[in-house]
């Protein structure tokens, strides 16, 4: 009998055979290339950025065309499917290598950059030769980013920048900073901001480290917000040509929002919120304390199943975002909703784990008797940060209510 496949007329929660094959290929690559030495480097590469082995590896990954899959061909991409990129990112994220993301910078450059800027930045970002520090937050402007004060004053064909940025995480190794500055102090808050892409070695820029509560001892690489260091970055009469501006003058708020929206979703955002679910289940399956296993405790079992369900919702929200992006549909509230649910889930799991492991969950990296090298303890210190960064859960809920549900401003 002829068994022609049914024409696809319904929603689809599965990956195509090609995508399954891609996943297998990436996994095989990881088996072959992410050796013990590479893993060792990832685990012990102190302050952030990539070590020499990972940098080498990253070049091979880029040669395989696994980075920037959705980008236009002329800038090194393949005009491919967002979900393919997602699959690659998920597999590499799981071994501590971030690919394809390039933070919120690349999407903004793609959307708002001039042809020269695209040529200057995109291929380099793709190969890992260019890295962008994110210069948004200031001492007096965090969640309320539009209050930023860092000034860029026009002077002939140049801009002269003065001000301070906070928590510029990769500023101590990045090649450039993706900077939001005020170009028109008299315009309404959102309409006087511009974005600049500035080489970090431009005279007048200084970087001072800020050490996090994960810095001593340092956290295992898989930790949610396990980063040891971030920075303050100071701008003192930093002169840059106008060609450093990304997008139109005073349109920076909208250019920046474009990138941020995409940066709130995707594989790494998803994984930082759900990996502890897998970790604790896999851990207790093989663990007993003097013959007593948490895996047999009905309260623990109920709670872990509950968290597992929540994690599925994180996964499905990520898939929803991917589906929207693939259809070229803008988010109204979906990205924000995901950015509420997933980080808060991550915190619930992290804190549940402390009550499953009790005193063992205190033990940090390097301690005698530490479980999973202190991962769970370090996660307690970091998990909640995920609900503050890149749009805090409070602000994200405001957006769901106002943009998604049309509720009035206070």
């Amino acid at each position: 009998m002829d068994t022609a496949p049914r024409e696809k007329i319904e929603m689809d929660f599965g990956y195509s055979p090609e995508q399954e094959a891609l996943r297998d290929e990436v996994r095989q690559f990881i088996d072959d290339y992410v050796t013990d030495e590479v893993q060792d480097e990832i685990e012990n590469w102190g302050e952030g950025g990539r070590g020499p082995l990972v940098r080498e590896l990253y070049k091979i990954i880029a040669e395989r065309k696994w980075v920037g899959i959705t980008w236009p061909k002329e800038y090194g991409g393949q005009e491919g499917n967002r979900l393919d990129q997602y699959i690659v990112e998920e597999e590499f994220s799981r071994v501590g290598i971030s690919v394809g993301g390039a933070g919120s910078g690349a999407p903004a450059i793609l959307a708002a950059g001039t042809d020269e800027q695209k040529k200057e930045f995109l291929p380099g970002l793709l190969k890992g030769e260019i890295t962008l520090a994110l210069g948004f937050t200031e001492p007096q402007a965090g969640a309320d980013l539009a209050g930023l004060q860092c000034r860029a004053v026009k002077d002939g064909d140049d801009f002269v920048i003065n001000g301070q940025k906070m928590y510029t995480s990769s500023a101590h190794y990045a090649s450039h900073i993706y900077l939001m500055a005020r170009t028109d102090p008299d315009a309404p808050r959102h309409r006087g901001i511009s974005i600049f892409l500035i080489p970090m070695d431009t005279p007048g820029i200084t970087v001072r480290p800020l050490w996090t509560i994960q810095s001593d001892p340092r956290a295992p690489s898989k930790t949610t917000y396990g980063q040891q260091r971030t920075n303050e970055t100071f701008f003192e009469d930093v002169r840059v040509p106008r060609s450093c501006m990304l997008g139109e003058e005073n349109q920076g708020w909208y250019v920046g929002a474009m990138g941020l929206n995409l940066d709130r979703v995707g594989a790494s955002r998803y994984l930082i919120s759900v990996r502890r679910d897998e970790d604790i289940i896999n851990y207790i399956k093989e663990t007993e304390f003097d013959g007593d296993s948490p895996a047999q405790d009905p309260a623990v079992r109920d709670k872990l199943a509950e968290l597992w369900i929540e994690a599925q919702v994180c996964r499905l929200m990520t898939m929803r975002s991917m589906s929207l992006v693939n259809r070229d549909v803008n988010f109204t509230y979906e990205g924000s909703a995901e950015k509420v649910w997933a980080p808060e889930h991550g915190v619930r799991t992290t804190e549940t784990i402390t009550q499953i492991l009790g005193p063992y969950a205190q033990l940090l990296h390097g301690s005698d008797e530490a479980i999973e090298d202190g991962l769970f303890a370090h996660n307690v210190m970091g998990a909640f940060q995920s609900g503050i960064n890149h749009g805090s859960v409070q602000v994200m809920r405001d957006q769901v209510a106002r943009r998604g549900l049309g509720m009035p401003r206070g």
């Binding site: 319904e10 909703a337 509420v340």
Partner: protein, 391 residues
């Protein structure tokens, strides 16, 4: 992968919504709470004419052979309208006949179901309301060419109007080779059956049904003797996922009522919907219902693809039980006192979503099932990858 509605699905959904908004008003819902039948036959017939009952039935038996997600979408809309019709119970039984009935049984039942001429239900639960084979004590004893059924069932949906009921019976003690369960299709008017209506939060029609030496021809057995448990498990899984679709639809509408109310109700000189605490409740309600909806449709999709879906069903029901309930309760809170008043419609949704959260498996039961698959089998788990069921 594209978890959003397809164009065709969106169309079906829109049409269903338009139809129900016109034909199934809160006034009708209220009327049916007091009605003896509990459903309006004219609305039932209109739904049949729209093709809803045959949607998921095979084309060989007057159905349309559409994916199960379509039926889910319709039930979601039926839930949104809290339409008082014996749709869910009819579909649960009909789909079991599709998957496990004989050709004879299919021919007898399915075309009539599609035409709206046959209302069905199913009976599982007895004294212990868990979904386990050992809770089944209703006995079916062979007697010549018949089986004779004796026992009592609880919480049987729409028994008052159903013509046939799939009754889960014990035919043997549980053994290593089977759970000793068989499934029979029973005429509800058979001699020896009595039923007592139960008074529920939802004011729907549920019954306690007793079977006293009820005679059923052996040809009414669905599947093989003593091998009924897997059939019943599938029936329950399908029923649970479809109930989730209904819950999600009703909870969504209820949440929307809360959100709209918040935009208009003024306190302390401004709409309460401009207070951040109210906005955040509304954001959470939306997130919860979205989550339940996606879990539900993933389960339905997997079933439709013939993939194992028990975990997904349990995920959906456990989540919907708690989060849909939280959403409708939040909506009550946003409404203050008025939501508590009989004359205001909101409670019509609130009471139903609450009742549905108590049926077809509690959160604890479903999570126990998930925990078993997560924890009791060897090997590592990974999100997004299937968990193979434990034997």
């Amino acid at each position: 992968m594209d978890v959003l509605l397809s164009e065709e699905e969106q169309m079906v959904k829109n049409l269903a919504r338009e139809f129900l908004e016109a034909e199934c008003t809160p006034a009708l819902v209220r009327e049916m709470e007091l009605d003896e039948l509990g459903y309006p036959p004219s609305l039932w017939q209109q739904m049949a004419n729209l093709g809803w009952f045959g949607m998921a039935l095979p084309e060989t038996h007057e159905g349309q052979g559409l994916p199960l997600t379509y039926l889910g979408i319709i039930l979601e809309e039926v839930g949104r309208a809290i339409a008082p019709v014996p749709f869910h119970s009819t579909m649960v039984a009909a789909l079991t006949i599709v998957s496990d009935g004989s050709e004879e049984q299919k021919r007898e039942v399915l075309p009539k179901v599609a035409a709206g001429e046959l209302i069905l239900t199913w009976a599982f639960t007895e004294r212990n309301p868990k979904y386990l084979p050992e809770t089944i004590h209703t006995e079916a004893k062979k007697d010549g060419g018949d089986y004779v059924i004796t026992g009592a069932k609880l919480f049987v949906d729409n028994f008052n109007v159903a013509e046939k009921c799939l009754v889960v019976c014990r035919t043997s003690p549980e053994s290593s080779s089977s759970k000793g369960i068989s499934l029979f299709m029973v005429d509800t008017l058979s001699q020896g059956i009595t039923h007592t209506p139960l008074v529920t939060i939802a004011k729907d029609k549920q019954s306690k049904v007793t079977f006293d030496q009820v005679r059923v021809p052996a040809a009414n057995m669905i599947g093989e003797l003593d091998q009924g448990w897997p059939i019943v498990e599938n029936m329950l899984d399908r029923g649970t996922a479809l109930l989730c679709a209904q819950m999600v639809g009703a909870a969504r509408k209820d949440a929307e009522l809360g959100i709209e109310y918040a935009k208009g109700r003024v306190a302390f000189g401004r709409p309460i919907g401009s207070f951040q605490s109210i906005q955040h409740m509304c954001a959470d309600m939306t997130i919860w219902v979205d989550g339940g909806q996606m879990l539900t449709f993933e389960a339905l999709w997997k079933m439709d693809q013939g993939l194992p879906a028990s975990i997904e069903v349990s995920q959906a029901k456990s989540f919907c039980n708690e989060k849909c309930e939280a959403a409708v309760r939040s909506s009550q809170v946003i409404h203050g006192g008025i939501g508590f008043m009989m004359e205001f419609d909101l409670h019509l949704w609130f009471r139903r979503v609450s009742a549905w959260s108590m049926r077809m498996g509690t959160s604890f039961e479903h999570r126990a099932r998930i925990a078993q698959m997560l924890i009791d089998q060897p090997g590592r788990v990974r999100l997004g990858m299937p968990l193979t069921p434990v034997a």
